[in-house]
């Protein structure tokens, strides 16, 4: 790993994380760690059927007051969810089932007891009477005439059908090279190691409902909870304590969370539900399941001309509040041109309801699928034309001089050098040496392959972009409050939610840089609606752009005021002062920020005439450019594949990436490595298959394969640093990028290993079975 860190400043410093200490002592506070007197544990009764008419819920004798159905929680509003588009069909998702059951795992009733075990015992005795219906388990078949309907009032099973068109695809009808391929990225869970969790109680002193929630965005969740419960927002406090990973999966308001909050209101005592792993795998946010059928058009030199196709998103049974999974389809379609110059795009998308757990965001949102489809198709095209995939990419990548470049998908690629990133990784893995090794062959019979993928990652996109997507909540800004305490130390109150991203460190670095203090003097507070001004939370690689910008802007307001006070105390003009190392310097003296803060807070007689006391400011921030700032990178991976068993080993993994200015390169590397590890999970291991009757077939870590240390190779990372134009310090968001490219790069490497036999690898995860079947099929050993 290399990083060009400017250690002169806190911006770019590899500062060790402020949040590590509590975790290393085992002293962190996750929702399940909160202890309350008279706490009741909840166990949910869940649907065992994928699709059924609910007839009755029979409570066990004598347990009427410990078992609750939807009717018992009344009044409870069912929230509208999904984009605010008339064409998007509503799929009311009650906190506990009403009328119909639409996926295995859907909450039907809730039971309380003094322990989870006792609550589960009770749940086992609840009888759910239901009439089973045919299940819809395939998103493509779901749209065929005669398919059973999830929602009786819908004309078919699609939440929405939508087209994305640019240029004139019909003009390519005679294009000399055309290849058509089908790709599939299968369904996953998001698998934060801490599952979901919620604890709610009525705080009589403050006369409010307190909801501890393992969430990525407490302020936004308060909006939804308040509406569902019918509570005014000043009577509802949402607190995200330590959150054990989210990856997108904790950025939706889920039925269990509403039900637990409602029950706390009803029982007026603390109630909690802590998700177990089985519940997480069958009933938490699911992700990824995309089907692609695309045709790529090129000329005889391998210049890409356009792409047409059809995308089916298997969205599961309901749209989750607030925005459902509609963005999957539009983002998939708009990212299909990838980082390439092509001017014609015609994609039809279908966001389809099936009898599976509802889909939500997961690290990369839609782009891992789109990147898999376009980057696999580019390799297939290169194979077809007898070209090196690397060369075909070089001919088509958007170059630095093209920028800003508006893609056929309407994305404004702002800055960077994509061809250079590709060259860097090609050098790192030494392609000529690999080609020689392939020609020699391996002693153990394995095949060696090298694959590439180039990705872009939109980050820091603001109001215009989210409004265009018809988002119900428009996360176009972030706010910060900077409060300098009387001794000159600082509280930084922010609306984002740190759950592993190191924002308690990086935001302190930004504040330290602006205020010329040490990060140790700055405490970052977040994750609590009663602490910070409104914010949207941490998702979509947005926090460093928006919250970092808000912190910078607000610190400058505080510092300017401090400088005015300093000038007054030094009996000089503001213009004659400067600030360094926490001290305001004048021509003939200096005064520390601590002395200034003391004057501003508790010794008002020292302030300039008419100045208001205190050193505190609140401001919101959004970049002027609303279309986002694109991080990007190239991944190169070398694999060895055993042809008979299909077992894939990763021999080398190289990354060249550019996220603009890095606030903390240590944390940037951590995000990349962690993202790639999840991407390797998507590529090779993780899948939630469903049986024909809609039963989920991966319900434990015994059958849902999460990569562990032996499966993840050491990664080699090079940073290109092209500062963004239009963000503070030139930062770009980068939390998701690592997860986008691995499925494409790894599948391309496997395909490269079997290029001579023409084996096709078009579906993730590339399990040993899928790989060995593809090889056998290409070799004529399978029908």
């Amino acid at each position: 790993m290399s990083a060009e860190a400017d250690t002169e400043s806190w911006i770019g410093a590899r500062l060790l994380r402020k949040e590590d200490g509590r975790h290393l002592l085992g002293a962190s506070t996750f929702v399940a760690d909160i202890r309350m007197p008279r706490l009741l544990d909840v166990a949910f009764v869940r649907s065992q059927m994928a699709h059924a008419g609910l007839i009755d819920i029979i409570k066990p004798e004598g347990a009427q007051d410990r078992v609750f159905t939807f009717a018992d929680l009344a009044p409870l509003k069912v929230l509208e969810a999904g984009p605010e588009l008339a064409a998007f069909r509503q799929s009311p998702y009650p906190a506990l089932a009403q009328g119909k059951l639409r996926f295995v795992g859907q909450p039907v009733a809730m039971c309380v007891a003094a322990s989870r075990g006792a609550a589960e015992d009770l749940a086992d005795q609840v009888l759910v009477e239901a009439e089973e219906l045919d299940a819809v388990v395939d998103a493509v078949a779901a749209l065929r005439p005669g398919a059973p309907l999830l929602f009786d009032t819908w004309p078919d099973n699609a939440f929405i059908h939508a087209d994305v068109n640019e240029g004139d695809i019909a003009s390519l009808a005679q294009a000399p090279v055309q290849i058509r391929r089908q790709f599939k990225m299968n369904r996953q869970a998001t698998v934060s190691l801490e599952g979901r969790g919620v604890l709610a109680y009525w705080d009589h002193r403050l006369d409010e409902l307190v909801v501890y929630l393992s969430t990525q965005g407490p302020h936004v969740m308060r909006l939804g909870l308040a509406e569902a419960l019918g509570l005014p927002e000043h009577k509802l406090r949402v607190v995200a304590p330590d959150v054990g990973g989210g990856f997108g999966g904790k950025n939706r308001l889920m039925p269990e969370e509403i039900a637990v909050a409602a029950l706390a209101l009803k029982l007026r005592r603390p109630v909690r539900w802590i998700e177990d792993r089985r519940e997480h795998l069958i009933a938490s946010v699911h992700a990824r399941e995309h089907h692609y059928d695309i045709t790529l058009f090129a000329d005889r030199d391998g210049i890409l001309l356009g792409l047409k196709g059809e995308v089916h998103i298997d969205s599961g049974a309901y749209a989750l509040w607030p925005t459902g999974s509609f963005m999957e389809a539009s983002m998939a379609a708009r990212n299909l041109p990838g980082p390439y110059r092509m001017r014609h795009l015609a994609v039809t998308t279908h966001t389809v309801a099936t009898n599976k757990a509802p889909m939500g965001p997961y690290r990369g949102v839609a782009r891992p699928g789109a990147c898999f489809a376009i980057e696999r198709a580019v390799d297939e095209l290169a194979h077809e034309m007898g070209m090196e995939p690397l060369e075909l990419r070089r001919r088509n990548l958007v170059s630095a001089s093209d920028m800003p470049y508006r893609t056929a998908g309407g994305l404004r690629l702002d800055t960077g050098d994509y061809p250079r990133a590709l060259s860097e990784v090609a050098d790192m893995v030494d392609v000529p040496a690999l080609r020689r090794r392939q020609a020699t062959g391996e002693d153990d019979g394995r095949r060696i392959g090298v694959g590439f993928a180039v990705y872009t990652e939109q980050s820091g996109h603001g109001a215009a972009e989210w409004t265009k997507r018809r988002s119900r909540v428009v996360p176009g800004y972030e706010s910060a409050t900077v409060r300098m305490l009387p001794d000159g130390t600082v509280h930084l109150l922010v609306g984002i939610q740190n759950h592993g991203q190191g924002l308690e460190t990086t935001l302190a670095q930004i504040a330290a840089h602006e205020l010329t203090l040490d990060p140790a003097d700055i405490s970052v507070r977040h994750g609590d609606t009663s602490v910070s001004p409104f914010g949207f939370g941490t998702f979509a690689s947005r926090s460093i752009v928006f919250s970092g910008g808000a912190v910078a802007k607000t610190c400058r307001l505080v510092l300017e005021k401090a400088r005015h006070i300093g000038a007054h105390l030094l009996q000089t003009d503001y213009a004659q002062t400067h600030v360094a190392d926490g001290v305001v310097h004048g021509p003939s003296g200096k005064v520390s920020l601590a002395e200034i803060a003391r004057a501003a807070t508790i010794r008002q007689e020292l302030l300039p005439q008419g100045m208001t006391p205190s050193l505190e400011a609140t401001a919101s921030y959004e970049p002027e450019e609303s279309g986002g700032f694109f991080s990007y990178g190239a991944h190169a991976v070398v694999v060895a594949v055993e042809p008979q068993t299909g077992v894939v080993s990763i021999l080398d993994y190289a990354i060249a990436e550019d996220c603009g200015t890095m606030i903390n390169p240590l944390i940037v590397d951590g995000q990349i490595i962690g993202g790639v590890a999840q991407g390797i999970g998507t590529a090779l291991y993780e899948e939630i298959p469903y049986g024909e009757t809609g039963q989920p077939l991966a319900t434990t870590f015994g059958d849902y394969m999460v990569p562990c240390a032996p499966e993840i190779p050491p990664l080699r990372i090079r940073h290109l640093v092209t500062p963004a134009l239009g963000t503070e310090y030139g930062v770009k968001g980068m939390g998701e990028g690592g997860a986008i490219a691995p499925p494409a790069a790894i599948a391309n490497a496997i395909a490269d290993a079997f290029r001579d036999v023409g084996a096709k690898f078009c579906e993730t995860p590339l399990t040993p079975r899928r790989v060995s079947d593809a090889v056998a099929l290409a070799c004529g050993e399978l029908p």
């Binding site: 002293a27 202890r35 054990g244 944390i667 870590f701 015994g702």
Partner: protein
């Protein structure tokens, strides 16, 4: 309910437990030791790793009653343990944690690995971690931290030439 006596983090404690209760629930709910985290409750993720009579075990698949008369050490019991403090420092310096949920279990396993293998190489560490899930870090920092901690704790072993291990 059954009464059991165990030596927990250096103190003798008497607890009343259901025969079906797992050690992790006893620690978390009965003893207030919430540093032992539950990530899967079926013995697959390692987040609840504790030391039972000095051996690393998963507290979610050990029944509490099986600990009667035995010694249990949780992450809370390692505060002030000079070996664990070295491991902790290397976890911090190698960015071996992000959300922190797997961290207590990782640390307990790391100490166990170093106790059994004074000079573990990368392949051995990775293999030894095959039952510990970290969803955030991609393991690179964890592996590097364990290696560096072992080298600091056992400089004599680190100085000895070792046979190369196969992955």
């Amino acid at each position: 309910m059954m009464s059991i006596t165990l030596m927990l983090n250096g103190e003798e404690t008497v607890q009343s437990v259901e025969p079906r209760a797992i050690l992790a629930d006893l620690l978390r709910e009965g003893c207030g030791l919430t540093g032992t985290h539950l990530g899967c409750e079926h013995g697959a993720c390692g987040a609840c790793t504790v030391a039972l009579d000095g051996m690393a075990v998963r507290a979610c698949v050990v029944l509490a009653v099986m600990c009667d008369g035995r010694t249990v050490e949780t992450i809370e019991g390692t505060r002030g343990d000079p070996v664990m403090d070295v491991i902790r420092r290397h976890f911090h310096e190698h960015h071996a944690l992000q959300c922190g949920f797997c961290t207590p279990g990782m640390l307990m396993m790391a100490r166990d690995i170093i106790a059994r293998h004074p000079c573990p190489d990368e392949a051995l560490i990775r293999a030894q971690l095959s039952g510990q899930v970290c969803r955030c870090t991609g393991y690179m920092g964890i592996v590097a931290a364990i290696r560096a901690a072992a080298a600091e704790l056992h400089p004599e072993a680190a100085a000895r030439p070792t046979l190369t291990r196969n992955a």
